[in-house]
Point group: C2
Chain length 154, copies 2
DNA sequence: TGTGAAAGACATCGCGA
DNA sequence: TCGCGATGTCTTTCACA
């Protein structure tokens, strides 16, 4: 697939805002007929521009009242140790995101749990027991100021 | 709406995996007919358990090749200063997430940009020019080890 | 590429158990 | 609450410009 044109981008923007937007709806906004919208979306799905459709749920209503960012520094930094840590951390359901970062620490983890008690349990019995953990520093989220899943597509 | 039961949770899990899952599909997996699925989803939408449906796009394919976490410490911590910072930061399209955290810094920002040049521009001409910025420390993402939008719902 | 029409699948809603 | 059936809407495809 070639690069996206302006129409593709507008379609993506609308789909980010509402994953259930119908082809008809999009077509009318863009002043086109339904078929090309349908085909463009299909192409963007096949090409990988569209990774998935999902439903955003309210974490707080589901009982997840604590989110924390966890800075992790490892002791050893060989390829094998890094890969092992990444595999182990990816298995933990409490860890919703994990990034290998350049800076003061090696990894940044976003951890979502029910409450502080569960977080404490997570740190002491799950994270700290992984091999090769050097130093862990947590930042607790007091307020979610902004959370925007949509990528700006001009 | 009362608390969710096991069936509601299984519906949410399926909808997180695939926002376009049809009622028919869900019904057949759960061994129920379509109507109760339809009604349960509608109730969860109305009650706010379901916040929105969206489309996940591939940031990298769209040209966003750099993600960074930006730790920000403010100079003054009065209510007015905090609110003002939060308002200003929420307006910045480069900032996809912003959290008020307890720890070494005041705020943690997730910044998504095209490349390092744009990031530099963002830091120097947009973030640093906000009122009341004390100290900024960036961690650049070298690798996204895990990114899981789905909340575990057992 | 785009348009328009037609077939099939799905969402939506009223009624009965 | 759930299941069934009717109706309107959407998706998907095809012939054609």
């Amino acid at each position: 697939m070639k690069a996206l044109d302006a129409i593709d981008r507008r379609i993506l923007t609308m789909l980010q805002d509402n994953g259930k937007a119908t082809n008809k709806e999009i077509a009318s906004v863009l002043g086109m007929s339904i078929t090309p919208i349908y085909e463009r979306i299909k192409k963007m799905e096949d090409a990988g521009y569209i990774k998935k459709y999902t439903t955003v749920v309210d974490k707080d209503m589901l009982g997840y009242h604590l989110m924390a960012f966890c800075n992790v520094r490892l002791k050893e930094h060989t390829k094998e140790y890094l890969e092992r840590f990444e595999e182990q951390v990816a298995e933990l359901p409490e860890v919703s995101e994990c990034y290998h970062v350049a800076g003061n620490f090696d990894y940044l983890l976003k951890v979502t749990v029910v409450d502080m008690e569960v977080y404490h349990f997570f740190i002491t019995t799950k994270l700290a027991t992984l091999d090769n953990i050097g130093h862990v520093q947590s930042s607790f989220v007091m307020k979610e100021v902004k959370w925007e899943i949509n990528v700006p597509i001009e």
